[in-house]
Amino acid sequence: MSRYILKRIFHMIPVMFGVSLIIFTLMFFIPGDPARQILGDKATEASISELRAELGLDKPFVVQYVNYIEGVLTGDFGISYTTKQPVSAELFARFPTTLLFAIISILVACIIGIPLGIISATRQYSFIDNISTTLTLLGMSIPSFWLGLMLMLLFSLHLGWFPATGFYGPKYWVLPSVTIGVTSAAFITRMTRSSMLEVIRQDYIRTARSKGQTEFKIITKHALKNAMIPVVTTIGLIFGASLGGQIITEQVFSIPGLGKLMIDAISQRNYPVVEGGVLLIAFSFTVINLLVDLIYAYIDPRIKSQFVIEKKKKESTALKGM
């Protein structure tokens, strides 16, 4: 198992290189000049070309990329053009906020989505199922910026329960987490329902019934574990996406997260921050994927045995070689 994890970590290297190349190329060819942005409209051509030379922007593309990668490999993500702070410091100041919201919202989404999905599936076409299907449809179709604004209107302006914007304590977490969580909960409910519906028609559920097992135990002991694989995949994807995709929500609630940092950086042509941010998001995504795969192995012994078989095969070929 640990061997498999090492192998997967090794696989992450080419992925990260690919991501860095793509984002660096995009930023290189994007119109707009950072030097001109920094110095403003009234700057002279001479001072602009001087700054370009200072930032290394006058060098050819390949040289710039190699320099950047060299820096990244030594842990240096460059200096932010606007704040003159190291990019890594800026990213790690913002990342925990985004991570916090991603974790809270996914927890809320799971707590609502999984039980609702199970109930919907076990009572298909019942009143509860119809209600939950309608709600999930709503949850999936509501744009998050609109939902955020509406929540603000109701809970901050009219009721005054929660503050509308800012990030100063748990009270400030509620509205943004709900905004992000509603869509995720809807997706998780749908996925749980359809996966559960498939599983409860399987023969082994019938076997469990013919043993005299109660319906509750049949669902919790036999069906749930089998139905969880697609749900775990969905949760992993949503979690990864919410790390990089809270941009709009962060903007609406003025939360100093990664998304807001990146939006600002893109409009200011702050290349090192954009590149560093994308690399960080890509890295978190691959880590989440790895975790999801490990959870698969924990849930399903058939998947786990594939890792072991791989290992055994290698051992047996090694023995033959001797």
């Binding site: 005299g212 089998n226 058939r302 045995s305």
Partner: protein, 328 residues
């Protein structure tokens, strides 16, 4: 008193495209220690009958419309869900057709056997594991494999595990729904012999559902032939095999290749089973019968006794018998 007595059982599936008459008023009896073979082609209603006995007809769309199922003297159809759960797995248990899908892939076989033991017997965790180990040894699987998962076993082994689960609480009735259909021929023989041996050891009665007359000849004491939801012939193994009465049963035997006779072609039964949503008004086998008379299409035949304990549901045959007896 018989262990199981089914009287006039009717099970219908009510679907959007019509009412599927899967089981149309069957009567069956199983004595203690006896093996009854329930034979018929696909769609004859064999599995639905079995699910009916287990009170596990999927509802909706299935519904037991009429009839009574007496097990050890009490009507199963009048019991509530809790009482049924107590009987399922402990007194009546079932082996399903496909061993590949009958076991939960993410639970160890040990847990799956222990589950049924702990549901019905007041045993500690350790005791139930001990019983599970004994059951595994009984069906020919080494007990040290108890913590393995279903995917680590072959098809025949899985069916053995399913049998171990079914027999773990020493039920008085075992329903085996085509237990060997999904297995290799060589494994089939092994599994059948094992089932027969265990059945005799535990004194269990068995309802063997199959479409394989070879299996029937091997282990059954009595045979019921089922066609379009009805039992068309019913008798001891000898009576059915040596003194075949119903044209459908004759047709079934005609479509088995013989090792003794050198026949150029087999003689299958022409046509298909009638659509269960639109069963014919007369004898349901009449459209395919080569001994059909005009009367057959007009009225439903009743069971009549061919010889003591041997019944058949055929108007033509009944008339023939009458002529013979009058002639004498």
């Amino acid at each position: 008193m018989n262990l199981l007595e089914i009287k006039g059982l009717k099970i219908h599936y009510i679907t959007d495209s019509g009412v599927v008459r899967a089981v149309n008023g069957i009567d069956l009896e199983i004595n203690r220690g006896e093996t009854l073979g329930l034979v018929g082609e696909t769609g004859a209603g064999k599995t639905t009958t079995a699910l009916g006995i287990m009170c596990q007809v999927p509802d909706p769309p299935g519904k037991v419309v009429e009839g009574e199922i007496f097990f050890e003297g009490s009507n199963l159809l009048e019991k509530n869900a809790r009482e049924i759960r107590k009987i399922r797995g402990s007194k009546i248990s079932m082996i399903f057709q496909d061993p590949m899908t009958a076991l939960n892939p993410v639970v160890t076989i040990g847990d799956q056997i222990c589950e049924v033991i702990r549901l019905h017997q007041k045993t500690s965790h350790a005791e139930s594991i001990k019983i599970a180990c004994e059951m595994l040894e009984l069906v020919g699987i080494p007990a040290e494999r108890i913590n393995e998962y279903p995917h680590q076993f072959s098809g025949g082994m899985k069916q053995r595990v399913v049998i171990a689960i079914a027999l773990a609480c020493k039920p008085s009735l075992l329903i085996a729904d085509e237990p060997t259909t999904a297995l290799d021929v060589t494994i089939q023989a092994q599994v059948l012999q094992m089932m027969d041996k265990l059945k005799k050891e535990l004194g269990t009665s068995m309802l063997m559902i199959t479409h394989d007359l070879g299996v029937v000849a091997e282990i059954c004491d009595r045979v019921a032939i089922m066609y379009a939801g009805e039992i068309v012939e019913y008798g001891t193994l000898e009576a059915i095999f040596n003194n075949t009465a119903h044209p459908y049963t004759k047709g079934l035997f005609g479509s088995i290749p013989s090792l003794v006779l050198d026949v150029e072609r087999l003689s299958p039964i022409d046509g298909l089973m009638p659509d269960p949503t639109q069963l014919p008004t007369g004898c349901s086998f009449a459209p395919r019968c080569n001994e059909k008379m005009s009367e057959c299409e007009e009225r439903k035949p009743e069971l009549f006794q061919v010889s003591p304990g041997h019944f058949s549901k055929c108007i033509h045959h009944k008339n023939e018998m009458h002529k013979e007896s009058r002639g004498c």
